[in-house]
């Protein structure tokens, strides 16, 4: 990240405040409403929400099927949506299996299911990840510490239009006794992007 040090950040921060004040004068933004909307939005938009969806699909096969068929229709069952105040985005959930692994990227910009997972990590938005994962997913996943078995086929989903994607990881072995909530605790943001197994 550039510009994260001292003076440059202070100047930028002042410019942002300046523009926000101008937009407030024009009646286009209301800082109080802006704060309220952001807080409400971020409350649901976090990897914990994605993890909840995954855990539910691990314990409820019917829900899993509905999620894979039409994620937008299934999300409200767990109190979530892809709306977040703006127009609802299409979500496609792609499931890993013993034979297939999925990983998501947006090579052109930074499309990501923010309404469900929250703002994406910096590496996801980097030129390094965007340029490389589409061409050498196995190599990139190795750098994340995840070696996909050689007989597992990898599919890279490049989100180049209005749809967003989320990976449904496989349920780890030896988790039969865990509650849905405990299962959700096993799911990581990296797993939902597809650069980790879970």
């Amino acid at each position: 990240m550039s510009g994260d040090h001292g003076g440059a950040t202070t100047a930028l921060s002042a410019r942002v405040r300046h523009v926000e004040a101008l937009l407030e004068q024009r009646g286009l933004v209301d800082p109080v409403e802006l704060d309220r909307a952001l807080t409400a939005y971020l409350a649901k938009a976090s990897p914990a929400s994605g993890a909840r969806v995954v855990a539910r699909s691990w314990v409820d096969e019917d829900f899993r099927q509905r999620l894979l068929d039409n994620a937008n229709l299934a999300l409200p069952e767990v109190g979530l949506s892809m709306g977040g105040g703006l127009q609802e985005q299409r979500l496609k959930v792609v499931a890993n299996t013993a034979a297939a692994h999925n990983v998501i990227v947006c090579t052109l910009c930074s499309c990501y299911p923010i309404a469900l997972l929250g703002p994406s990590p910096s590496w996801y938005k980097s030129e390094g990840y965007r340029s490389r994962v589409v061409r050498d997913p196995r190599g990139v996943l190795h750098e994340f510490g995840y070696d996909v078995p050689a007989d597992v086929e990898i599919t890279v989903w490049d989100a180049s239009a209005e749809s967003r994607h989320m990976v449904l990881p496989r349920r780890p072995v030896g988790t039969d006794g865990l509650s849905e909530q405990e299962l959700a605790g096993l799911v990581t943001r990296n797993g939902l992007i597809g650069v980790a197994a879970v």
């Binding site: 299409r90 086929e153 990898i154 989903w157 490049d158």
Partner: protein, 90 residues
Amino acid sequence: MADRFPPGTRVRTRRTDPPHHTRLPRYARGAVGTVLEPEGSSPLADDRARGLPAHTQTVYTVRFDARELFGEGEHSVMLALFESYLQEEL
């Protein structure tokens, strides 16, 4: 309106490099893939980005072999592409 490319259709992407915003990445131009499914419809981004009246088009999920795109690799790449980016590959 029926979708022009049913699932399983082999399609080739446009090769042109347009002088404006587009959602067809360079690495996937002039490449042959297979339609997985229509995933919905949207106003064409290329037009909407330029403030032009944008006709709504079907967007397809299209599967490509990495080898077709990069000349190497064993994986697949899925792209969501507007209908006008595609033509049937006979």
